[in-house]
Amino acid sequence: MQNLEDGSDAALLKRALAGEEPAFLTLYERLKAGIFRYAFYMTGSRSAADEVTQEVFLTLLKEGGSYREKRGEVGAFVFGIARNLVRRIERRERVYEPLPEEDVQDIPAGNFIEDRAGLANQMVRSQVTARVRAAIASLPDHYRQAVVLCDLCELPYEEAAGRLGCAVGTVRSRLNRAHRLLAQKLEPLRSRRTDIETTGTEGCLI
């Protein structure tokens, strides 16, 4: 197993395609978090992110033979698959109206009575998260990709540029523009949060 942990993604993929299950599992453990997070931030849905993660690995098994190490990392190859799947899901889901707050984190029932302040904070936080997610979703695709990869998936600019197939400078400028747009979209939220922070949440709860 130690041998597998040290191996490169490309070597693991090769061994996985040859039928070595431990190699596949190691590769899966390395890549799944990134794929899941990317799909979740892009689609805003946990179920869609589940679907994309599973499909990505299935596609990797089918198309993995066409991967060439000299053309890029396995991570970039897998990201390409994930991006196509996300686009397909977006096209499919475009005809439906999303249910509000579909994927908001569940609040444990015990907190309702025991910790009012905590509950209020969680509610505000959920609302803020939903607003930020909506603001990101409303960005043009190339800006959204930059924000998701750099700010949310926390990839370095160079790696993000490699995944998006553009120059580092392009990623920087896209990110800069996206931040300005986001700041504009979140302006109402900022003033509201400032109000809550200064006055507290008691008034809201009564």
Binding site: K32, L61, T129, R172, N176, H179, A183, R193
Partner: protein
Amino acid sequence: MTCKEIRWYFEDHLRDAEVLAARGAVAEHAATCPDCSRFVAEQRELGRSLRELRESIGSVPQSINPSVLLNYRRHMADQNAPDRVSINGKFRPRLVWGFAALAAALLLIAGSVRHWRHAATDTALHATTGQPSTISVRETTKNTASGSRLRAFSLSATPRRVTPRPAAAPRVRPSAPGRTASWPVRTLRSLPEGFRSLMYCDELSCPQDMEMIRVQLPSSAMPRQLPGFMQTSGSVTADVLVGSDGIARGIRLEEIEF
């Protein structure tokens, strides 16, 4: 620190915007510059929102692990199955399509060759015999639901090798219901007895059963040049032979009412 430096600083370190905003140099400049103060507040808020969004995702659900593993095992089992079309152990759907296309092309060629050979045999038969086939005419009578009687003539061609002989006058016998009479092709170019041809009819143009329909028409609708027919103000009853293609081939006048 200048306004420009502050902007560069935040562009590259948005993830740490909350910490940066509280730093001495940034705070000092922001206190004296309203634009930068607003910018720093904006960036700090954006950094905070993005951090909260990052934290909201939690961990990757473990529920997908078994299905991914199952997919892997299924894929490997499929790949190792011997009945799949594969090269070097890899399933090739294009190969399957290629085989299918090849099989279809072979079938098409075989069909064309067979058709061509069949046509060639027929031509040779015609060429050697001169009278290659006989046509049987069967006249049947059936009662329709309305009580009127319908007589149907069925023509069927039977290929036969016939020794050429000098043309003789055809022997035409009146056909009785249910009785079959055979003529060589030449004689059959004229329709059964009593019928006048409305259009050319031989084994090629009317190879299948014909149906006889009794019609009643005003005599004015009949062509004047029909031999033995005089136009009156009454009506005409006639039997019409109609081919399977719906085209009338022959007519026989039955009754003329004045």
